[in-house]
């Protein structure tokens, strides 16, 4: 699976071709092709063990490849040591030098590059200001909070002007509130700097909130690459649909196709016309078993039954108040169905909800 490289203008920030990585007999990356455009905020999203961190470490130069090539800004860096790749990297545990102050930490890459002392100091303070830590410049890492350490690590990775910043689950050590703030901060920073950010995460909402491009990985392969909207609204597979957001999944079969529109038939005989996501057109022939995804938040009450909706009804099993909505689980002929509704339903009470055809997503089975 590959997204097309732009032929016009500057080369992509990262271009990966036929990349494989083995540890002994174990193949952790099974042949990847990927193009990450210049100036994008890209996230690698996947469960643990999907190879997303290994891919990041290979781009950074901390792990070698078994086969294939990695190019950064059009230059093949496959054989280049990490220090010669001129990319910034923010580690999960920040990896700040504990014996140096915040300012000295940020100066470190400039010292390596033999910049004069004054210049070093000026640029370090400039970047500490950028991450709102100018007044903490003389503190040691242990005297800073987790969020502040995170921002020192960011400043240190950016101060020498890399064209590419890699972030390895940078927010996983922060608590939920701080994580939200840091997400906003990272997004703004990337917009201001205009350089490419590549961010590894296992949190789908983090990926949606941050990125312009989401790369979904599974078992060392790319499962889907696209914008957050594409990933959420046009998933290629059951895995992606299940990983991004919660879904009800109902079996159905395709009874007719008309261009980008398919007519599917549910177990109870209901037929409904649904749009076909871009990536799965070939895999949805007439007569084939397929799956219908009903996003809980798209459920509606008070509808008219016709061929433009899929209706579900049954007794309520449980209702949970979630703040923004009630999560209602009810039992239907198609199994347990979850809907996000605005009202409270007592267990046992009957509920009727429907999904409009335009909100349904159809996928090949398996």
């Amino acid at each position: 699976m590959s997204n097309a490289s732009k032929d016009c203008g500057s080369p992509p920030a990262i271009q990966i071709s036929r990349l494989k990585k083995c540890y002994g007999a174990v193949e952790v990356l099974r042949g990847l092709d990927l193009v990450i455009p210049e100036g994008s905020y890209t996230t690698f999203l996947g469960p643990s063990g999907s190879g997303k961190t290994t891919l990041l470490r290979i781009i950074a130069g901390f792990a070698s490849v078994s086969e294939g090539t990695v190019s950064i800004s059009g230059v093949d860096v496959t054989d280049r040591a990490a220090r010669a790749r001129d990319v910034g990297m923010v580690f999960q545990n920040y990896a700040l030098f504990p014996h140096l102050t915040a300012r000295e930490n940020v100066e470190y890459p400039l010292k390596v590059r033999r910049l004069p002392r004054e210049e070093r100091r000026r640029r370090a303070l400039e970047y500490l200001e950028r991450v709102h830590l100018a007044e903490w410049a003389d503190r040691y890492p242990r005297e800073l909070s987790g969020g502040q350490q995170q921002r020192v690590a960011l400043a240190r990775s950016l101060v020498y002007g890399p064209k590419l910043l890699l972030l390895d689950e940078p927010l996983s050590a922060l608590d939920k509130h701080l994580r939200g703030q840091m997400q906003d901060f990272l997004k703004e920073l990337q917009r201001d700097l205009g350089i490419t950010f590549v961010h590894v995460t296992h949190d789908q909402s983090e990926a949606l909130a941050l990125s312009s491009l989401v790369v979904i990985m599974r078992d060392g392969r790319l499962e889907q690459v696209g914008s957050p909207e594409q990933i959420y609204l046009e998933p290629n597979s059951r895995f992606v649909a299940g990983f991004i957001g919660n879904s009800n999944i109902v079996c159905c079969s395709v009874t007719a196709r008309n261009g980008r529109l398919a007519t599917v038939k549910l177990g109870d005989g209901t037929e409904v016309g649904v749009p076909i996501p871009a990536g799965v057109t070939e895999r949805l022939g007439v007569g084939e078993k397929s799956l219908l995804l009903l996003r809980p938040e798209k459920a509606e009450t008070g509808y008219r039954i016709d061929t433009s909706v899929v209706a579900m009804s049954g007794p309520v099993l449980s209702t949970t108040f979630m703040g923004t909505h009630y999560q209602v689980v009810f039992s239907t002929r198609h199994g347990e169905i979850t809907a996000h509704l605005n009202n409270d339903y007592a267990p046992g009470q009957s509920v009727d909800v429907a999904w409009r055809a335009g909100n349904l997503i159809v996928l090949p089975a398996g």
Binding site: A60, R83, V87, F91, A95, P109, V112
Partner: protein, 276 residues
């Protein structure tokens, strides 16, 4: 506040006899030693005057410190890279083998090791044979400072390497990786990141072997001659040859004072350096 509750910690109760015994073990012999040094054969500082008043004995004291320093330096130079390698190498076989050799060396009785060196350095030993074959006129390496220092390094190296290893193992090696990611060479990263953070472990392990070296006895007795005599031997000879318990006790107390003084000085300098 009546609701404040005081409980006797059961852990402390369990260990109380052990700790009491330890204090007895620690305090009584040393107190006795000090008393003996001040009272045998008569009350006064006579024994201390005898030790400190003699050029010969003072020279023994300086030599003890100098030889211990040489042995320690040898351990630091040889042992630090070894400890670094076994702490961070991913070649398990190499790590296990090195640890096994270090462990076995440590467990081999110091007597046997000194004895092995006696044979090696002796007049009929292979080293003399090699040196003679090379045209050097050497009869024996025994009773030389080289023999003493090499024998001591052999004894102390496993202790140094294992102690430093225990410290290095907890070093955040990912910081070296991070420094390389920021553009540093491996050597620059080691010098600017690893070494400053590892220094306390090196100082600790170095102090340990230095202090052990100060009290050394078997190795210099077997490998050195009268001109390489160290304080430990002086004490042993005072007892076994002359039965002069008071003098030996005074020398023992002085050895302990030197040990504690040098140890505190190193700790103080090291702490001051870290604060800076």
């Amino acid at each position: 506040m009546p609701a404040h509750r005081i409980k006797i910690n059961p852990i402390v109760l369990a260990a109380a006899p052990g700790i009491a015994l330890l204090l007895i073990f620690f305090a009584i012999p040393l107190a006795n030693l000090t008393v003996r040094s001040l009272t045998d054969p008569e009350f006064g500082l006579g024994n201390y005057k005898a030790v400190l008043g003699s050029q010969t004995y003072l020279r023994v004291g300086w030599r003890t410190i100098w030889i211990s320093f040489l042995a320690m330096s040898g351990c630091v130079l040889i042992g630090t890279p070894v400890a670094y390698a076994i702490a961070h190498s991913k070649r398990r076989a190499l790590v296990v083998a090195t640890l096994a050799v270090l462990g076995l060396s440590f467990l081999t009785s110091s007597l046997i090791r000194a004895f092995a060196w006696m044979i090696l350095f002796g007049a009929q030993g292979p080293i003399v044979a090699i040196l003679n074959a090379a045209g050097l006129d050497v009869h024996t390496l025994l009773a030389t400072q080289v023999a003493v220092v090499v024998g001591m390094i052999h004894f102390l190296l496993p202790i140094y390497a294992l102690t430093a290893f225990a410290g290095f193992r907890n070093m955040p090696f990912d910081l070296v990786v991070a420094a390389e990611g920021l553009g540093a060479s491996r050597w620059y990263a080691l010098r600017t990141v690893y070494f400053p953070l590892a220094l306390p472990s090196i100082i600790n392990a170095g102090s340990l072997v230095f202090v052990i070296a100060l009290g050394f006895f078997i190795t210099p007795a077997l490998l050195g001659g009268p001109s390489e005599m160290m304080l430990g031997q002086l004490i042993a000879i005072s007892i076994s040859k002359f039965g002069d318990f008071g003098f030996a006790a005074a020398a023992g107390v002085l050895l302990m004072v030197i040990t504690l003084f040098l140890l505190s000085a190193v700790q103080w300098v090291s702490k001051a350096g870290q604060r800076q």
